[in-house]
Symmetry: C2
Subunit: 430 residues, 2 copies
Amino acid sequence: MGEALRVALAGLGTVGAGVIKLIDANRTLIKRRAGRGIEIVAVSARDRARDRGVDLSRFDWTDDTASLASRADVDAVVELIGGSDGPALTLARAAIASGKAFVTANKAMIAHHGLELAEAAEEAGIAFKYEAAVAGGIPVIKGLREGAAANEISRVYGILNGTCNFILTTMEAEGRDFAEVLADAQRLGYAEADPSFDIDGVDAAHKLSILASLAFGTRIDFGAVAITGIRDVLAIDIAEAQALGFRVRLVGVGEAGPGGLFQRVHPCLVPVTHPLAHVTSSLNAIVAEGNFVGRLFFEGRGAGEGPTASAVVADLIDIARGEGGPAFAMPVASLAAPEIAQAGERRGRAYLRFTVADRPGVLAEITAAMRDANVSIESVIQRGAAVDGAVQLVMVTHEGPERCVADALERLRGSQSLTARPMLMHILDL
Amino acid sequence: MGEALRVALAGLGTVGAGVIKLIDANRTLIKRRAGRGIEIVAVSARDRARDRGVDLSRFDWTDDTASLASRADVDAVVELIGGSDGPALTLARAAIASGKAFVTANKAMIAHHGLELAEAAEEAGIAFKYEAAVAGGIPVIKGLREGAAANEISRVYGILNGTCNFILTTMEAEGRDFAEVLADAQRLGYAEADPSFDIDGVDAAHKLSILASLAFGTRIDFGAVAITGIRDVLAIDIAEAQALGFRVRLVGVGEAGPGGLFQRVHPCLVPVTHPLAHVTSSLNAIVAEGNFVGRLFFEGRGAGEGPTASAVVADLIDIARGEGGPAFAMPVASLAAPEIAQAGERRGRAYLRFTVADRPGVLAEITAAMRDANVSIESVIQRGAAVDGAVQLVMVTHEGPERCVADALERLRGSQSLTARPMLMHILDL
């Protein structure tokens, strides 16, 4: 057995406390598996006094987080502060510059600064790892970086935000509307007081941009992710989708096609026969499609103390075992800067819901717009009576280019027949 | 970029040809990801003349498979011959003794000789890898060895044989009986001419014994796996299970409990709400339960040219990247030799089907035996009329120790009321 790997831990929120608990609980096992112990020696956080349910007195405490980077008694720095910039980024840069192995769960920082950090880590010859940043406890970074490494990956997609999946599947199970379920989720601690990063799809987009880089050997391009959140999903959307054989999920999709790299996070209709349709509650799941392996599916807990700590310590075990290598599966200089594929050229079916005035001629106007935009309609559903003078009209289109559907909606913009913005969800026919 | 990793390939069946095709198709990508090329230099197989759809003329051919081990121009040996002993084992021993990195897809050899080979590899300081041996293209060896390495794993279980899953899910979809579907599967190439290794559960047991070692840090103990195959599963079992909210799957289960290590392969009833219930066709899937990560689920193609080649080349990429380490996640000397848990002490529900004579008193006799064995009955189903004078009687027990159910069956042994051996399947209430 070698010397223990000495770790400095910055950030003692839920995940930081979880890492301490995990190392305490599984110390002997970790030593057997890693070939050496893993021991925290120093910690830093905002509030020293807060009770985290773990004994911190054994660790050296510092209020100066950045100082962790330069300690001679530390081999690896774990960053669990969060935030794309600020103290997290300062610590990351300093730790790598000081030649410390660096582990983080910070998806925002990686989406924005991951390439810079990875390049610095390559130059310093140290490990830079972030398994916990995507899908919590699911080893999907490893799955793509190593497990599927022999494959050209054509598509990577999945359910990357547990809060959204909890809300959507609770709406599904209980037939309730978004705002109500969100309020419940906040009470239960499944959603933040300010939930916008989650429900507007930004968190999922951070993760998707990281997965896409790993899968396709391309530079992270968070800015190129088209993002739609779940605020506009109504109970009726979920009910009609179910009647049509679908479930509604917030899915991040990355594709490498002849037109370039395509990245989108959006609520979409998943056929009940697809494994993503069976991912409920706050679980995460990822699908990767390789040219030899076919479809790989990974599912597990995407957030929370235990799962995230599991991923952080898995990274530390890799480091203790001496397994590092390029953070994005290949040197940053080898990552391609691809063309950005235009969504409009993608082909697929779409779900459309129109909130319309309850008067003659409305259906004629909408269907004329669809015809003029070359959108062919597969099914139309209008149920029940008007509520507040408005009727919900649901359509599913035949497969066609997305730009045609966008054109149809453009033609209807400002129409007096529509009393609210139309709802568009793509159908995941994969 | 470093020098290419030079590979010798023994065995040119479906998987061997797949490895050549994969390296040809993804050569540039592999070089980017591995940091160096991976090139086959020498091959060996039984029949040089057979057309495998790949150009073999560029490789050095030898009829003397074992000679691949000692070639100075080879860094890694890939064994795809198959069989637990014979030429595969001879090659493995020789390659490791010669200091070559060693990659195999041979589950039988690992189940029987894996510890010996891993120990030799440790002494020689070389990588010994076998991702393709379990669940084909699914990176589950890596998932347990590295991804879940921070966790104490309490249970690992899954669908480990694609042939059985194809047969069971085809029976399920088409309502047909075992023998008929097996014959179809053989025609389609999903089942071997001699299918016994698959349908009697031996192949799944090989894989389970490997997963259990990785998950629990215990020595591989194939002999301790209790094995029941799927020959006795009737269409009626699948139909009644469905009516009760279950699907029938051949599941390998490994558990580390206070009573010791428990390993069993058996057809069992999986609740439709469980992810394994949605694994259809020839797919494989594995669940691992860790004390911090919770439940991880991996699904994908468990056999065939592409998926298996994907796993073999992933191992080669790891080797090219310099990532080796102990084959069973820790040195063989650290693996525990646990007690073997007795099945009888396990608690659970059971499905029982009795083929009974169509006459008075039969139900009384069976239920008396259940009562005397302390088995409590949750439901009883007897449908329709007798076929050939026999009636199928289906029961589901309440949760209780397995030994009580075994006792009840023992009490009924030789009973004139039963016209065939009872069918027992455990219910996977996980």
